[in-house]
Symmetry: C2
Subunit: 179 residues, 2 copies
Amino acid sequence: NTNATSSYGNRGMSLEEDINISNEYYLANGLAVIHKKPTPLQVVKVDYPKRSAAIIKEAYFQQASTTDYNGVFQGKYIDFEAKETKNKSSFPLKNFHKHQIDHMRQVLSQNGVCFALLRFSISDEVYLLDAKHLCTYWSNQESGRKSIPKKEIEDLGFLVPLGFHPRVDYLRIVKDVYF
Amino acid sequence: NTNATSSYGNRGMSLEEDINISNEYYLANGLAVIHKKPTPLQVVKVDYPKRSAAIIKEAYFQQASTTDYNGVFQGKYIDFEAKETKNKSSFPLKNFHKHQIDHMRQVLSQNGVCFALLRFSISDEVYLLDAKHLCTYWSNQESGRKSIPKKEIEDLGFLVPLGFHPRVDYLRIVKDVYF
Ligand SMILES: [Mg+2]
Ligand SMILES: [Mg+2]
């Protein structure tokens, strides 16, 4: 298969894996410093065996109080969440949690660059949608749609170039849109 | 005891606890969005009991690849590490790890605001020292001192005001020094 886009689509990597590898590329090339935050765990019981590393024997997953990714690009604070859907024509808002939206609002009010990377996995398209739009759709949920029509994501957002190095080149969009 | 500084010193809270509470204050008052990153854990074994939350049965502490704190203040990326010592006249460099210094260098090269908060716990003083100075002392370790003399921290750094709300008001220094 000599078609990059199509073989990319066939790899079956998660969006998160692709972003992590893109971030490694950005870091290695001095382009940006952006990391995924570790999943917060509540540690209840730890054993300290002699002559070896501490072993956590009981712990629970906790809900993160922020988005998954943050870091710095040319002095500016960058913050985003990555989500994917198998839907074809809209992106369900249930993929987001209230605390993530709250965090995005806080970041926006500090003039941070804040967005979501939304992948439609069937068509293998990734869009960057600014957090202000996402927050508006979120607020309007009560009285209306529980998802964002793809057409509106195409209009309000930006299609992110996909490739091999980096796989999901969202920094190119960030540079165009926020600088 | 009506002396705030002295009763503060007697509380015996760790620097990290004080910073976490200061960050909550900044967040609640819309001043900055700065969080401590969760400790990364390598999860090996998870049980999924019926009708209750997943239990992690085996996991290990991993070394973080970044500093402990980051976030956004008025659009700028803020990144720092917090450390304390019981030494009176110098701050030992062994409190820092190579990967933290590497991360600080990366952040500096992206023009992020990057520093260390250094507490001398006996005298209960906290200094903000820019990462560029810390990195210089770190590099010079091979051929010289394994610690930073307190006198030089006083000269190159900034004494952080301590109080109750917020406890460690490092943002006041950040505003003066980086804006
Ligand atoms: Mg996520
Ligand atoms: Mg630390």
